[in-house]
Symmetry: C2
Amino acid sequence: MTTEQLVQQIRKKQSFLCIGLDTDLEKIPPHLLNSDDPIFEFNKSIIDATHHLCVAYKPNTAFYEAYGIKGWKALKKTITYLNKNYPEIFTIADAKRGDIGNTSTRYAKAFFEDLHFDSVTVAPYMGKDSVEPFLSFNDKHTILLALTSNEGAFDYQTKKTENKELYKQVLQTAMTYTNAENLMFVVGATKAEYLTEIRKIVPDNFLLVPGVGAQGGSLEEVCKYGMNKDVGLLINSSRGIIYASQEKNFDKEAAKKAKELQLQMKSALIAM
Amino acid sequence: MTTEQLVQQIRKKQSFLCIGLDTDLEKIPPHLLNSDDPIFEFNKSIIDATHHLCVAYKPNTAFYEAYGIKGWKALKKTITYLNKNYPEIFTIADAKRGDIGNTSTRYAKAFFEDLHFDSVTVAPYMGKDSVEPFLSFNDKHTILLALTSNEGAFDYQTKKTENKELYKQVLQTAMTYTNAENLMFVVGATKAEYLTEIRKIVPDNFLLVPGVGAQGGSLEEVCKYGMNKDVGLLINSSRGIIYASQEKNFDKEAAKKAKELQLQMKSALIAM
């Protein structure tokens, strides 16, 4: 999917919501546990109930890998279902991968060619030759970790490197990589006050913003400091939506939570 | 496996060789491609021919993920085969994972509990709460990226943060994490000259050293600057060993290459 197509979807749906499919067998409604593939059944129900309210889904691969081959099968079924039934949806493999050159190419193939995701999250620590292999795929997007939503972000990301905080160095250096137009960046909503500075370095790129809701980030603040002329934001909510209820009507309850966020986003878009 | 058991194996085998199982269908002997599971058949042959010459195997997960579910099945069969037939071998999932707290726990479970690896490589960018979940498993080891062997390492890792290069900051900060005794560190052999400085910060931890051979790192240099009283090194070679030949006797040719390295390691151990 191109960035232009993503922006069109945002305008059409009046939403820049991304729903995180962090599917945990201990948290999904118990009645699903008797099905052949509870992880996929849960995802399918959530997707069918919420696809009109969001523009992206983001399965975090950790949740699938924890279940081994069964988990990978459920991930593959989920992305295949999404691509077949809702091709207008932007898909994100939240995998936080990264390795040396030829090995990064393998990861890129895993997520872009085998699983057919539109994008994948990548860790920046190994630098240019670990990131560029992901960037070389047409109409695929590499979402680089910049400033993450967790406490540990203060260990290194906000430390000054050559008079500039590491996350700024990452943003600035990454924009010099070949095919940098395929870059998006992860910026945690819990650190919305940093967005002004971030927008000075990457005015045009999309930001994937986790941490709204359960982690305490504010949607208003993120929009205020992070929006650009093309909206430029994908705001993720996982637990707050998908675990809204453990009852049989869990999908409708999830849709209610998604609708609440979508309405807030609509207001933000009107106020733009 | 405990660190003491690993050190015992090193002394017994007179080897601190780790063989990287970066298995690529385009590089393995063509006669294997007709088998049901060429990736596993290749790994099995390499392992059977070289297990007495090395103390560790390190499959890089990228190579398996690139083949989708088929790849994950081959990875699972490989680790299961290793644990059943060669339980004295230290196993490393070279996965370079890392995420926020509860999600990192999922990755730890995937590699330590579902796949039963002894260790996993982890990226440090997200800091304390992304690393500590891995450290909380008994007799399991977290191998943190510090100074990697690739060119991109100079993008951030060697940049000064608060008057200290980032990789040093990573080493120093990580040693303050809970259960830091379960930490090992990745330090590329292509940067052997940094080892003296690294040993000042982490005198006792094991270092996993990739980049000897194909990437140009020197075994002698690594030993000279990196060894500690418990040896403290695992030196990895992947392509240089496993792709020594594409003929029917590829396993014997791989063993020859492994034997060359083992003999160099034996000399280094005698000279200690």
